[in-house]
């Protein structure tokens, strides 16, 4: 799948990769085009991200949704140039505020990391360094970019800790990560990420490791901080339900590719393809009456080394027909700013397999 965005069905002209993405505008803070990230392992090449394009506008939130192993986290790491070895960005461009991140040298990249782009990770326990106090870790973020004196950095860090809602932040400054609860740790992570009031905050499954009760608090915190600082946000999650209130646009990823992309309303109310449908069915939705039991998507996500032929979702798809294992569907715009990669997008036939009991 080389070209990602094609002209609408029956469209007059094919748009090239250099043309505008569906949500791209003059305000677009981040534009990712045709990003390909491969991991060269002993078992073969893992195509973790295989030609992904999206954009985020200033102040808006893009949710990237998918099961684990769909490439969504790698995709986010790639934005900051933090793809762990042996991963390598193979192709593509990541334009942030007009600069291609992939062409920047280390020095320039470091100026952006933690400064103009902040990042919050999944597990706050493992993501905080256990041997430094939380205060030190937060002030480090300030010090490195602002060159503040130790004392000033401490002041600023204390302030940040109270902004993210850590009570008695001055007293708890010298405490170590293990002395905090999961939610509090994630607040520390957030304090570090927003220390420099970044233009873009990438939150990689920020609530997955937390208790359900805390999840909403953290999401609220992220939301209010976004409002306060006017940040754009990429919210990466496997939980489609979680993003309903937060996101402006949603990209659904499967096996390293975007399979559906649109506004939050389109995705929620007018999903075009079976995988999105499956995701919807597998989450509790607060805005709808409980219509039945939650249904997980059957089967396992595919191997990223030996990808199924045709549509990568076909082995798990209830609607799959012969064409699905013969031809790979392309991501096409079916509706205004609503794209999907499915041979039967918006026009699903009768499911072949009903729910197994």
């Amino acid at each position: 799948m080389a070209e990602i965005v094609e002209a609408p069905v029956g469209g007059e002209e094919a748009t090239s990769a250099q043309t505008r993405l569906p949500f791209e505008s003059a305000d677009s803070l981040l534009v990712v085009r045709d990003l390909v990230v491969h991991f060269h392992t002993d078992f073969g090449v893992v195509k973790a991200v295989d030609g992904v394009s999206y954009s985020v506008n200033a102040g808006e939130t893009l949710a990237i949704v998918g099961e684990s192993g769909s490439g969504k986290s790698v995709n986010a790491s790639a934005v900051l140039g933090l793809v762990p070895p042996p991963g390598k960005v193979h192709r593509g461009e990541i334009i942030f505020q007009g600069q291609d991140m992939l062409k920047l040298d280390d020095q320039r990249l470091r100026e952006i990391r933690g400064n103009r782009i902040g990042m919050v990770f999944q597990d706050p326990l493992t993501s905080l360094n256990p041997v430094f106090s939380v205060g030190a870790q937060v002030s480090e973020a300030v010090q490195i970019h602002e060159g503040l004196a130790r004392k000033d950095a401490r002041e600023r860090a204390t302030e940040l800790l109270s902004i993210v809602g850590i009570p008695r932040s001055r007293e708890r400054f010298d405490d170590y990560p293990h002395q905090f609860s999961g939610g509090m740790r994630q607040r520390v992570m957030i304090a570090m990420a927003i220390a420099m009031k970044p233009a873009l905050l990438i939150a990689d499954e920020p609530t997955t490791a937390l208790d359900v009760t805390v999840q909403a608090q953290i999401l609220d915190l992220l939301g209010s901080l976004q409002q306060e600082f006017g940040m754009a946000m990429i919210l990466i999650t496997h939980d489609l339900g979680m993003v309903a209130d937060q996101a402006d646009t949603v990209a659904v990823m499967y096996a390293g590719s975007i399979v559906e992309y649109g506004t939050v309303d389109d995705i929620y109310y007018r999903p075009l393809m079976p995988y999105t449908l499956g995701l919807m069915a597998s989450v509790a939705r607060m805005d709808q009456a409980r219509s039945g039991r939650l249904r997980p998507i059957r089967g396992q996500p595919p191997s990223l080394i030996f990808r199924p032929p045709g549509c990568p979702f076909h082995p798990r798809c209830d609607y799959a027909r012969e064409v699905c294992w013969q031809e790979q569907p392309e991501l096409l715009e079916y509706d205004q700013q609503h794209l999907a990669a499915c041979h039967f997008a918006g026009n699903l036939p009768e499911p072949i397999r009903k729910d197994e009991p």
């Binding site: 933090l82 470091r110 902040g118 905080l128 256990p130």
Partner: protein, 300 residues
Amino acid sequence: MIPVVFGATLILFVMLFALGNPIDSIGGERNLDRSVRQTIIDKYHLDDSLPKQYISYMGNLAKGDLGESILQRRPVKRILGDGMPWSLKLALTAIAIETFFGIVAGVISAVRRYSFLDVFTTIGTSVLVAIPVFWLGLMLQLLFGVFLRNTFIHLPVSGVDAGWRSFILPALTLASVFTAITARLTRTTMLEVMRQDYIRTAAAKGLPERTIVYKHALRNAMIPVITNIGLDFGSLIGGAILTETVFSWPGIGRELALAVLRKDNPIVIGGTIILIMAFLLVNLLVDISYGFLDPRIRYD
């Protein structure tokens, strides 16, 4: 600590008792005159039964008396006391070498993984671990004492009378295996730590690689490494038997080795007790220092 000392001395007593009467090693080729033999046996109670010898030894030990060497006719405490400072100094020097070279080599090979330096370190450490210590000592003596004899890097190959220069070859020899192991351990733990999430966090903050490696990663990687070095120190104090022999080092390792060969049992037992206590003490110190290195343990 006390049960360990009890157990160890009991085992030693039984083993040494089984090896025969130490009186046999006095006199060498010549047989001791009968009356002289009896006089010495009486003086050191060498014909007493094993339990009787053990009880009387432990009684003296409780009073802090380690007895007297049968052959050297000096208090064991003084014999070991003379050797201990030299053994300690040598062990400390070796530890310094181990810490510095082991950690530097380990960090470099972890950070520059698969580079020339990494491969070099990996091969080098394998070789060092494989070389018998005494052979390495001999080769160093041959190199620095013979081949480089008339050059400015010539080094003393035995004894302690050339000041700090005397320490170089024995300390290098003693440190060799430990340095190699430390380098290996540092490399492994550094690689392990570099994969941790908090390293990614540090990078996401925009920290330069130097800060990430030497502040965030090293500090965490050092916890097992320092613990290991601490424990090494315990073994180094008594483990220098071969090195001390090869380099004529006046420490307790050599004294102990000689005592074993000559069945000078009071030195063997007293020396072992001292080494056990030193080892336990070092272990205790390591446990305590652990808290300073790892805040998670400090607060638990």
